[in-house]
């Protein structure tokens, strides 16, 4: 009975959304804000990747708030899972294949992650994507060797420092009499690695913060005591 009413509800909802879709004009709407940004971003921000210009330049404050949401989720996750009992049993270390694979993958993933973070203003990528790759680089060894856990103090120190750096760079702009998080420094040559002013630094802070936050969260999840 409950399933039937749920299925009916779904059918009604589907028809409703379909009706709304039908009345909308898709693929023909002129992206006014986007066109303005596409024509002005290279001059104003100096990043070859306009998505980065939007994320860190035009709406950097939103990005800061989104980092706050991620931080809240990670903190809440740690709070919910609680501290591990000191004498709780740990999983045994994984087999040879996973251990050797983790050793091989770790440097590769770190290099790829840092590359993606540092080229965020030139190519698709950036702090969020590279940060997730960094997190996985530190999580795979944890899967291979559950007996040697990650240091949560180090992770939260990196996370706090990265967050503080982001806010500090934003505040520096205010000392210059600009708005909070206005891109600073010389814009440089469009498309060069050292260009777009302070955006690569901001993305580095974002990448470290996202990476350490996700690594800490995954470590919390994998370290929580198993139930029989």
């Amino acid at each position: 009975m409950r399933r039937l009413s749920s299925a009916l509800f779904l059918l009604g909802l589907g028809l409703l959304i379909a009706a709304i879709f039908k009345g909308m004009e898709f693929g023909t709407v002129a992206p006014i804000a986007g066109q303005l940004i596409n024509s002005a971003a290279a001059e104003q921000v100096g990043a070859a990747n306009f998505v980065t210009s939007v994320v860190l330049g035009y709406r950097g404050f939103d990005t800061l708030l989104e980092l706050t949401i991620l931080f809240t989720a990670a903190t809440a996750g740690g709070l919910v899972l609680g501290k591990r009992a000191p004498n709780a049993k740990r999983d045994p270390d994984a087999g040879f294949i996973l251990q050797a694979g983790a050793d091989l993958l770790f440097p590769l993933l770190v290099v790829v992650g840092v590359y993606i973070i540092l080229h965020g203003h030139l190519t698709p990528g950036g702090g969020f994507q590279g940060g997730v790759i960094l997190a996985s680089a530190f999580f795979i060894p944890m899967l291979a060797r559950p007996g040697t856990p990650m240091s949560h103090t180090a992770v939260s120190t990196i996370e706090g420092l990265a967050g503080a750096c982001f806010i500090f760079i934003g505040l520096l702009a205010m000392f210059d009499g600009e708005a909070f998080l206005t891109p600073l420094m010389d814009k440089g040559e469009l498309g060069a690695l050292l260009s777009a002013g302070s955006l690569p630094l901001l993305y580095l802070a974002v990448g470290l913060k996202v990476g350490s936050e996700l690594a800490g969260l995954l470590a919390h999840l994998s370290e929580s005591e198993a139930v029989d």
């Binding site: 379909a18 949401i69 498309g191």
Partner: protein
Amino acid sequence: MLDTGLVLYSAAFGLILIGIAGIVLSAHLVRIIFGVALLEAGANLLLLLATWREGASAPIIVAGRVPEFMADPVPQALVLTAIVIGVGILALALSLALRVQRAYGTLDMHEVRQRMEQEIADQAGIDMPASSHAPAAVQAARQEGSA
């Protein structure tokens, strides 16, 4: 040939519907969480499609060449952060599910709800609340459970 836009919109629409179906139809907590993840993917796709134009290239200048017709970077930036937040939400939801599993030994929503009601009734020292229209066998079983 199929219209690309139509395919993409049906995909977004389908993902949203499958996600909602997972949330309302399944009783297993992990499946509900995966439903939320699918719903999120559909919403992200829809957000990207809001300013989608046929033949637009990525809004990136490669080697000094400015593409003639670039996609709108605003929804792309929004979705970029939304995906990461989605991961955070997924992890938080899974850790809550882990606590439920630890407390009740099951992830089935019906069973968990039953156990929670039972606990509340036991703490308050009252009978389990039951509908007066429930069959006699169900009521007897519930009373037996609380006794």
